[in-house]
Amino acid sequence: MSARCALGGPELRIESREKNGVVILDIQGKLMGGPDAETFKNTIHKTIEKGGKQVIVNLHGVDWINSTGMGILISGYTTMRRSGGDLRLLHVSDKIQSILYVTKLNMIFKCFDNEDEAVASFANG
């Protein structure tokens, strides 16, 4: 329990970039509700305001997620769908995969292990 054992750890950090017209949100930290929900919600709304309709949420830097965090992703998904866009997931860890599978949300979210394939998937509908 050395360096890994820091209390709390970093807050949720989101960095936005663009690739072939697709907005990629690189997330670092833990997705578990509280202020995280507002941070993510604001990012999604800013993306829509800027005209972004195709969003990939890169979960490579997410250690873990709980059901509240899953609700945050669902909120982003429904917001994007209502605005005529879509939200897809990239680099889903084993733990997140387990949650998606048991809740059957794997039927809702399209998940990818490769960034280029995720970006290209929007061209295919």
């Binding site: 329990m1 890994r4 054992c5 820091a6 209390l7 709390g8 750890g9 833990k30 578990m32 509700g33 509280g34 873990w64 709980n66 059901s67 509240t68 899953m70 609700g71 945050i72 669902i74 909120s75 998904y77 429904t78 084993d94 733990k95 995969q97 387990s98 949650i99 599978y101 048991v102 809740t103 059957k104 949300l105 794997n106 039927m107 809702i108």
Partner: protein, 148 residues
């Protein structure tokens, strides 16, 4: 794992890190597969999140107590809060459809119920709600593949 391991901490999300690490260390030493280990860790975090958020209403003066105990072929975990509890029998009968994206909340108990072999609730008079989770410990070779 022999004996009992007890964690007690104030109702603050920052302690979820500690719970996750301790749970990971405990499960790693048990005879269970990677998938089952993840399911235990996820379920314990769900129970503790509920205890902090709903049980103790994030009041840092109220503690959450987590007890890990290995009993023969199973790992038993109890998560206690200081809250008033809720009508869990009613909730269990009416668990919302987890695929309904109009519901942003309410998947925690569904996840625990489906990832653990046993899930039970008990109102402890004068204390609060106790969530009891059990997972059968299987050989590492089995149950490691998520099937579509």
């Amino acid at each position: 794992m022999a004996g009992t391991i007890v964690l007690e901490f104030p109702s603050d999300y920052k302690f979820l890190n500690i719970v996750d690490l301790v749970c990971g260390e405990i499960v790693e030493g048990l005879c269970t597969g990677h998938l089952a280990a993840n399911e235990i860790a996820i379920s314990v975090i769900e129970a503790v999140t509920n205890a902090i958020e709903h049980g103790n209403c994030q009041c840092s003066d109220e503690n959450v107590r987590v007890v890990f105990e290995c009993k023969n072929d199973r790992l038993c975990v109890e998560v206690e809060d200081c809250g008033k509890g809720f009508d869990y029998a009613c909730f269990l009968k009416n668990i919302p459809d987890p695929t309904d994206v109009q519901h942003l909340r309410g998947r925690g108990i569904y996840i625990m119920k489906n990832m653990m072999d046993s899930l039970d609730f008990e109102m402890v008079p004068g204390k609060g709600m106790k969530v009891k989770l059990e997972k059968l410990l299987k050989p590492k070779e089995s149950g490691d593949v998520i099937k579509d």
